[in-house]
Amino acid sequence: MIFNNKRYLHFVIKRTLPILLFLSLSLPMFAHGDLTIRIAEKTIEISEDPNNFELYYQRGMLYQQHMEYDYALEDYLKSLSLGNTTKALHYQLAEVHYLMEEYKEALKSIYSYLELDSMDLSAKKLQAQILFNLKSYKKSLEGYHYVIHNMKDIRPEDILEYCNIILAENNENYNGALKAIQYGLDQLGPHTISLQLRKLDILKDSGQTEKALEQYNYFIQEYNRNEFWYYKKAKYLAKIKRPHEAFISLKLASVAIEQLNAKFKKMIPVIELKEQIKSLESSINNQKS
């Protein structure tokens, strides 16, 4: 027993003192008690209880927060090998594999998780994201559809991701993508800008020119400042060979700029916009002639 205690103390000295000395010397750097010091503290705990799978799991979480995914994965796998069978570990394994772009391994882990909790929306979302990256678009879409329609508080980012999956599964399913956008607008508010912008892109990509022009008009009417929208609309009109309408839209852009307060006229984006207007006007004139 005494021998064992001595060995233990020797082990503690060998493993922990260098860490502690390092910490004490680097206090000014890590004094805010942030992740680095917490990882070091967890390392000390592990050195004192090296077979505790919970500690490896906890340190893995810290490494993951610190974006050190290799170390996080190493700790999660160690935790697993020591007998950790919790669903939380499977989720973290899936997430860190996903972040490391190891999608096949990520999929295995998320399946393990979902076997224990098949209704968890975060896990189903991660599963759909993994499947998307494995180009298993149909399955990804099914999963994401379930998530979107069951999640309480969706974000614009979720709808945008959902749209991407819809179009990856079928690159002509513009109606499906537009329906998804509309669902997002219904849930998040009709003026959610990132969704309205995506709607415009889909309308343009699908060749729905009149609806795309209506969408430009929506931006023009909805926003306080519309010089950028007039220009973007003109650019689109020129692209679809409607030079006169493009010309009128450019005129409106120029007038909108003239009506701005002096401060805005001097801003780089507005100065650049004036140049772009000139250039497009000249190109339209060439188109006309």
Partner: protein, 556 residues
């Protein structure tokens, strides 16, 4: 013996953070307002308010009042312009412990006293009138504005209380607008260590209870808040506690999320970003929203806040940490180009304040103190000065100029954590506890001053600077009525547009296009009645025997 040495070393390592994060729940001796549940009917006595009330999402005509009770009950807010006559009522009959009542139809810039309760009676009120809402002024209003800025405050210890009390002392003794705080701006990490509900109770509600009852609180997400909050699902304590505008209810552009949002207050536009959870990519949803939002505002001042600092050499390093670098490289070129004036960050537990900058996106050692006209990163002849009116002079930003912004990392409202504090772009770097106050007021010459002061926990004002903006809200040339150009006259009184042609020039066609470019009127006459055209901007295309040209009018 060895165990003892190990213990001592461990204790040495931890002493700083423990000292600064330990909760010492001493009584709040400096409360400026005392709320007493008075006049409670017998049957409501068993219900107690355990959190709040606190104010959220203030607009010129509305505000959200939130509070928590220990037992589920109805939600009632009684309010009115006179303390003794709270004649208006907003209520919700659903039984809940998490109360959220929206007051709408309010008048801008108006003080309303209120109390909260249930159907049986009042549960919390302030007999001395320290529970009130002052609605926001209409967007564009030029008036005095004071915002209290708190970064990384949430230690729930005496450091935080001392910083708070120093601000209370400041605002009570302020020579102008004494006692007035229009808003609280939290820069994240509002409750250590993980932003749990209990930690929020200790570090936010118990500490700032008095101010939260009379000043609207806004916040961005910090990394510690983000440990318990999930921005992907907008759940967790941070998102439950705060109610932010997602649909541009308080001005700005609809983001569709509480993770990032904007609002107007007087002539200031505030943009709140999530630098922690949300993608910081150019072209991502938050970036696109920010660009649309900043290019849509006509406000005189633009202030942005997010947790991770653009420039710091405190307890974090803006040269090495991903989020900080990404915000600087991705967001700041666009925001500076569109006229941002003030950037407020936390994360490093120090106070670091920049010179008057533009276009510095590299590492600290690439900072060039020369003026931008000479290839440097400062703006104006005194942009490399201290910005103090009584020293190097206020930083100058003409109303016609977009360049020039001050960056502040102020994350020491709860603890300090040292660091090298030697970022070259910083005019001042301090390892001191404190919070900031931003005050915007007229300069007496048709412009405004935006002054920020760093108030230490011992009441000292350790740093201050001013940005002076001249000719605030200079209007663009009016074109409503009169001679629009040498060839067109708009008589608004007669609803007539008159075209002037050369003697030998014959008018062939006149076309009116409305604000979305739709052809709405044609004519062949030189004098055209526009009485039936709706208000708005029109482009007029004139085709004569000699040329084609365009004019524009705005019908008001």
């Amino acid at each position: 013996m060895i165990k003892k040495s190990t213990f001592l070393l461990a204790a040495l390592c931890s002493v700083v953070s423990i000292a600064q994060t330990a909760q010492v729940d001493l009584p709040n001796v400096s409360a400026v307002a005392v709320t007493n549940p008075v006049g409670l009917p017998q049957n409501s006595a068993s219900v107690s308010v355990v959190r709040g009330p606190y104010l959220q999402s203030g607009t010129p005509t509305s505000v959200v009042v939130k509070w928590r009770t220990d037992i589920a009950t109805q939600s009632v807010v009684n309010y009115g312009k006179t303390l003794n006559s709270l004649s208006k009522k907003a209520s919700n009959s659903a039984l809940t412990t998490e109360h959220e009542v929206s007051l709408s139809g309010l008048r801008p810039n108006t003080k309303y006293y209120f109390n909260i309760g249930n159907k049986s009676g009042v549960l919390s009120e302030s007999a001395s009138g320290e529970m009130y809402i002052i609605t926001a002024p209409k967007a564009g209003t030029k008036q005095f504005v004071r915002a209290w800025i708190l970064g990384d405050a949430g230690t729930a210890n005496n450091n935080q209380r001392n910083v708070r009390d120093a601000y209370y002392d400041y605002v009570d003794a302020a020579p102008k607008n004494s006692g007035k705080t229009d808003m609280m701006l939290f820069l994240g990490d509002n409750a250590y260590g993980s932003g749990t509900d209990e930690e929020y109770q200790n570090a936010l509600f118990d500490i700032y209870d008095d101010m939260l009852k009379k000043s609207v609180a806004w916040s961005c997400l910090g990394n510690h808040d983000g440990k318990s909050a999930d921005s992907a699902t907008q759940s967790g304590p941070y998102y439950d506690i705060f109610t932010f505008p997602t649909a541009a209810q308080a001005g700005g552009t609809a983001s569709g999320t509480e993770a990032y949002y904007s609002f107007d207050y007087a002539n200031i536009h505030f943009i709140i970003l999530d630098s922690h959870h949300t993608s910081r990519e150019v072209g991502g949803a938050m970036y696109n929203w920010t660009q649309a939002d900043i290019q849509n505002t006509k406000q005189d001042w633009i202030v942005t806040l997010f947790h991770h600092p653009i420039y710091t050499k405190g307890s974090h390093d803006s040269d090495t940490e991903d989020r900080l670098i990404e915000m600087r490289l991705n967001f700041m070129p666009m925001m500076e180009a569109n006229g941002v004036d003030l950037i407020l960050n936390g994360h490093s537990h120090s106070y670091e304040r920049s010179y008057f900058l533009n276009g510095h996106y590299g590492f600290a050692n690439t900072f060039n103190p020369d003026e931008i006209s000479k290839g440097g990163n400062t703006v104006g002849s005194n942009g490399y000065g201290d910005g103090k009116v009584d020293s190097n002079g206020a930083y100058k930003k003409a109303s016609t100029s977009a360049e020039g912004a001050v960056y502040i990392t102020t994350g020491s409202a709860g603890k300090i954590s040292g660091g090298d504090l030697n970022h070259q772009a910083m005019s001042v770097s301090l390892n001191q506890l404190g919070s900031c106050v931003m005050e915007v007021e007229d300069d007496g010459r048709g412009g405004q001053n935006l002054t920020v002061k760093f108030i230490r926990e011992n009441d000292d004002i350790e740093d201050y600077f001013t940005i002076n903006k001249s000719g605030i809200a200079l209007q663009a040339d009016g074109t409503a009525s009169g001679l629009i150009s040498g060839r067109l006259f708009y008589d608004a009184a007669k609803d007539e547009v008159k075209l002037k042609l050369d003697d030998n020039e014959r008018l062939k066609k006149v076309k009116f296009y409305n604000s979305i470019g739709k052809l709405v009127k044609k004519s062949r006459k030189k004098t055209i009645n526009v009485g039936k055209l709706s208000k708005g901007l029109y482009v007029i295309e004139v085709i004569t025997s000699k040329k084609a040209y365009t004019e524009s009018i705005t019908i008001e």
